[in-house]
């Protein structure tokens, strides 16, 4: 990228450092979430992954999505996951018999192959990037306006889906009369 250094906004001076700090946080904690032995540890690692993703969204210019990420993922989904763990985890897990490493090896090998393909695509693909990116500016009012004009139908459908899912979930876990 040949960009005139004078055109780079001052507030971007630290954005690369922020990017790498966030990347280290996200990748380490995602590895923990994927491969930690204890499921509670995995959930805590997922917490740091989700926070780091919110940092990425700030760097990419959507602070609203970052806040949404923290509110919905960390405040909603992760708490739901923790409740699921607490409700279904037994203190004395019996020893799983056999072939756990086989699944892990198969998963890791398949994932590495897939990552090779993805990395090759990313390395060779003709990605068109806009030169001279300007500084991100506040986008909340644009998003809000679009949600009630252009995206009204998907927005309402998403709301109905959420309602139906909550009713369905409550129905599924109701206490049955025996």
């Amino acid at each position: 990228m040949n960009v005139d250094p004078a055109s780079i906004p001052v507030s971007w001076q630290g954005s690369n450092l922020a990017f790498w700090v966030i990347t280290a946080l996200v990748l380490l904690s995602a590895a923990g979430a994927a491969m930690s032995r204890s499921i509670v540890q995995a959930a805590f690692c997922l917490f740091f992954t989700l926070i780091g993703m919110a940092g990425y969204y700030v760097l990419l210019g959507s602070g609203f999505l970052a806040i949404t990420q923290i509110v919905i993922y960390v405040g909603g989904i992760l708490v739901l996951l923790m409740f699921g763990i607490l409700l279904t985890n037994r203190p004395l897990q019996r020893e799983q018999k056999g072939a756990g490493w086989l699944y892990l090896a198969a998963g890791v090998i398949g994932a590495l192959l897939l990552f090779g393909v993805l990395a090759r695509i990313i390395g060779t693909g003709p990605w068109v990037e806009v030169q001279n990116l300007t500084e991100p500016k506040s986008e909340v009012h644009v998003l809000g306006r679009l949600l009630i004009t252009k995206y009204l139908l998907p927005f309402e459908l998403a709301g109905m889906t959420l309602l139906l899912c909550l009713i369905g979930a409550a129905y599924l876990v109701r206490r049955r009369e025996r």
Partner: protein
């Protein structure tokens, strides 16, 4: 001693230059795509290797986050708000993916609780069908 220090500082400055810390340019599209690919692959590993169903759910969350990161990176580096204020495709897709992820987590937890009530475990290997 000062020789080592100068060598180390030389390497450090080279590494900083490689990582883009000296130029002041923001990290580019490729880096975000690579990070998203790594996240996706880690989620896939979790889905394939975990036995606990909640671990599989955590893997799915990682995959969904990788998808949102891809949407946001493409949106940003194709111009972001300067060229796309009429649709805001990146953040919009992120919002809708998050809504569907919330739905999915709620339903999956309900099913898992039912599995646990019926079988006393959520290990996917020992649950071959959903009813007794």
């Amino acid at each position: 001693m000062s020789n080592y220090i100068s060598i180390a500082s030389d390497y450090l400055s080279k590494a900083a230059h490689f990582l883009g810390l000296t130029s002041g340019h923001p990290a580019g599209l490729h880096l975000y795509l690579i990070v998203a690919a790594i996240l996706f692959v880690l989620g896939l590993v979790a889905c394939m290797a975990r036995r606990n169903a909640i671990g599989i759910l955590i893997g799915i969350e990682l995959i969904l986050n990788a998808a949102i990161l891809n949407f946001m990176a493409f949106w940003r580096f194709r111009g972001g708000m300067e060229t796309d204020a009429a649709t805001m495709a990146g953040p919009m897709m992120g919002i809708f993916v998050m809504i569907l992820a919330a739905c999915e987590a709620a339903i999956a937890l309900a099913i898992l609780l039912n599995l646990y009530f019926n079988f006393g475990t959520v290990e996917v290997d020992s649950v071959h069908q959903m009813k007794r």
